[in-house]
Symmetry: C2
Subunit: 465 residues, 2 copies
Amino acid sequence: MTDHDRARLDYANLLASHVDGGLEAARLEGDLAVRFRAAWEEVQRRRASGDMGFLELPEATEAVAAVKDVADGFGQWFEDVVVLGIGGSGLGAIAVRDALLGPFWNERDDEARDHFPRLHVVDNPDPSTFGRLLDRLDPGRTLFNVVSKSGSTAETMAQYLVARAWVEEAVEADRVRGHFLFTTDPRAGALRSIAEAEGIPALSVPPNVGGRFSVLSAVGLLPAAVCGVDVDGLLAGARDMMSRCREPDLAGNPGALLATLLHAADTEAGRHVHVLMPYADRLRSFAFWFQQLWAESLGKARALDGGPAHTGPTPLASVGASDQHSLLQLFIEGPKDKVVLFVSVTDRGDDLTIPAGHPDMPSLAYLGGHTLGELLDTERRATAEALRREGRPNATILIPRVEAHALGELFMLFEMATVYAGALYGVDPLDQPGVELGKRLTYGLMGREGHEAPDIDDGDPRFIA
Amino acid sequence: MTDHDRARLDYANLLASHVDGGLEAARLEGDLAVRFRAAWEEVQRRRASGDMGFLELPEATEAVAAVKDVADGFGQWFEDVVVLGIGGSGLGAIAVRDALLGPFWNERDDEARDHFPRLHVVDNPDPSTFGRLLDRLDPGRTLFNVVSKSGSTAETMAQYLVARAWVEEAVEADRVRGHFLFTTDPRAGALRSIAEAEGIPALSVPPNVGGRFSVLSAVGLLPAAVCGVDVDGLLAGARDMMSRCREPDLAGNPGALLATLLHAADTEAGRHVHVLMPYADRLRSFAFWFQQLWAESLGKARALDGGPAHTGPTPLASVGASDQHSLLQLFIEGPKDKVVLFVSVTDRGDDLTIPAGHPDMPSLAYLGGHTLGELLDTERRATAEALRREGRPNATILIPRVEAHALGELFMLFEMATVYAGALYGVDPLDQPGVELGKRLTYGLMGREGHEAPDIDDGDPRFIA
C-alpha cells in the first residue's frame, strides 16, 4: 500500500507559515509534542485499565465471525432489515450505508441490490416516519435489528414494542422471534433477558465499548454485512489507521495531529466550532457520526480531576460544494471562531464528463470537457485557499476513494483523535453524564415505576407570543 | 383561527425569571424595545427602497398563478421532476418536500403518490449521486427544473449540461426543450437567454428576492405545486405570520422577539451557537434551510457603516429526540455558548400507540399505552427543562401540526426574524460578498475566459501526515 492509497491529513493551512493566526510549526516539535506525550500516556493508562474497548474491535475475530454468520445466514432471508437504534446505535450504521451502499440503495430493485436486503435505520421514534415505513414493509420478510447497549433505551424500546406487535399480528406465534435480532450487552439489560427467555438471536456489544465508539462492533457491522458491505476492508482500514495513530510521537501520527491542532485552535485561538465538510454526498452521514463523537466525548462540565471544565468545541456537519452556497459566507466573513476540516476524494469512480454545450455562453462554455468530480475538487481547493487568504485555518483529509478501507481509516482516525483530545482537554471522553437529568425527567413524566412526576416549569402564558 | 392554530413562540426559558443567566424581562419593555424600534425602522427603509422582495411573495398572485399553470399543466406529464439548484435554489424545495410530502415520497408507487411525480432535488454536483439518479430515470418521462437566479451558477450549469446531453441522446430533437423548465431572473443571465432562444418555459425569480429568501417564489413553489402541495395554504400561513411580525412593538411580535432575544443572547451573553431542534423528522430539512438563512444573512465582515463587524452566530441544525443521544451532552455540559430553539408539534396525525408488552420488565412496562408522539413530546419537555435547570437558555416554537399553513408561518417567522436580526447586528442581511473569492478562484482553475489561473498554496509535503 503506497502513501496515496492511505488516508492522509494535510494540515498546512493550520500553520502560521500558511495562514494568518495559525500555529507556529516549531511548536509541533516543542511544547505541543510534550503535551501530546502526556495525553498519549493518559490514553495508554486507560487502555491498560480496559476502558478503551473500541481499540480491540478491529481485531475481534470471534465477534466479527459471529456477525458474518448471522448476516450470511438467516440475515439473507429478509427483504428489509430495519435497525432500531438511536445515537451511537444508529449513526454508524447510517454512515456506513450511505458511504458504501451508495445513493438510492433502498429504491433499487432486488437485482440492483444483488439480492441483498434494503436497510432502514429508524433512529427517531417519530410516528410519522415509523408508521409510514411499516406501511411499506411485508412483515413476513422483515428483520428488526434492535440495537441498545443498555437494553433499555426508551426510544428504542418503544419502537421495539410497536414492531413486535406489528409482527405478532402478521405471522404465526412461533415465528415471531425469527424476525428479531438484538444487539446488546452480553449479559445485562432487558433485551438480553428477552433474548434468553425467548430464544431470540442476540449479538454482543462489549461492555467497554460506548455507543459512539461502537461502529466497528456488531452495532455497525451487522447492518453493513447483511447488505454485502466489505466488513473485512472496513476493519483492515481501521487497523491500518490504528497502527499509525498509536505512536507517542506527534509527527507522522494523524490522529495525534488532528487532536492537538484542533485542541490548540479551540483553547488558544478561540476556534470553538469545528466544521467537517466532505466534498462527497456519500460522506454527509459520516459528518453526522462525527458530530456525535466529538460533541458527546468532549462536551463536559467536569475535568478529570473533578474541577469545573465546561469544555467542548461545537462540531458542525457540512457538505461541499452545497454548503458553499449556505454556510461558507459565515465561515469566510463571520467571527474567527472556526476551523474547517475538508475531506477530499481523489478518485470518484464513475465520474460524469460535462459535455460542451452553449459554446457562445461564457458562463457555461468553460465547463465543457471537465468532469463533475473535477468541478467538486476544484471548488474544494478554491474554498480552502479562499479561507486561507482570509485568515481562516483549515485542513484537509485526503482519501483515495469512498470505499470500505478508507471509511475504516476515517472511523479510527476520528476515534483516536477523540480520545487524545479528551486527554488534552483533561476530560473523560468516554462518559455522558449530562443526559441523565433529561432521562429521569422523562421517566417521571411517563410514569415509570420509582420515578416521581417532576415539577416542570413550562407553559408560562406571559411569555408566549 | 384560534391562537392554538397559530405558530407561537414560547420564550420563557430565555428570561432571567426562568433561567440562570437569562435576560431581564423588563428589558423587553425598555432598552430592547427601543433598539428593536430602530431595527424596525431600518427594515421599513429597505422595504420602501424595494430591497425586500420576499415580503411581496405571499401576495404575488400573478406569479403564483404562473406556477400553478405550469404545475397543473405540463408538469403533470412527468413521472420524475428533478430540481437542479444549489443553496437557496434547493434547500427550500427540500424543506417543503420533506415536511409536506412526508417520508418515502419517492419510494411510493404512482397510486400512493396520487399520480403526482417523484421529486428529486440534486443540490450538489456529485457524480456519484447524479449519475446513479440518471441511471434510474426514464428520460422520456423526466422534467428538469433548472433553478439559478443568476442563470450562471457553476454547479447548476454543469448539471444542466449533463442533463441536457442525457435528454438529447434519448428523445427527438424537437422534444428536448419540453423536458426543461427554468427558474431564473426575468430578464438577465444565460438561462433566460437560452429559454428565449429555444422556447424553453421559464418562471421568474424577482430580482429583489435573494436565493435564501426565495422559497415562496417559483423557486420553492413550483416543485411543491407539481407534487400537489397546498401552495395556497403555505402562502396563507406566510401572510398570517407576516401580519403578526410587521408591528413596531416588540411584545406580541414573534419575529421581533426571536431576533431580539437571539441577538442579545449572542452579543451580550456569548451565546454564539443557535441550535434549531425540531422534534419531528419532517422538519429536519427545515432546520438546514434555517442554517443557510441565518448563516449567510448574519455572517458578515463589514457593518452597514463600512466598519469591521465579523458578526454572525453559528446555526446548528439538530433533530429531537435523536440528538438527545448525540449533541445534547454538549448542550447541557459544554460551554455556555448556545441557545436551543425547539419546535414542538401538537398533533402528529397518525400517531402510533405503544402496545403493552413485557409487563415484567420495568424498562419497558411504563411505555405501554402511551403513543410515540407522546414520548417525543415528553422528551422535548424534559430536555427543555433539563437545559433550563442547568442554566442553558432555550425557547420553543409551537406549531399545531406539520402542514402547509404552519410551514408557511415558519418560513416567514424566520425570514422576518432574519432581517430584523440583520438590523440589530448592523449588517446587510441580503448580500453574501464573502463567497466571491472562492468563485473567482474556481473560475481561474477551471479556465473560464477572462480569469487568470490563480496561484494556490496547497499540497505542501512537509505538512501531510
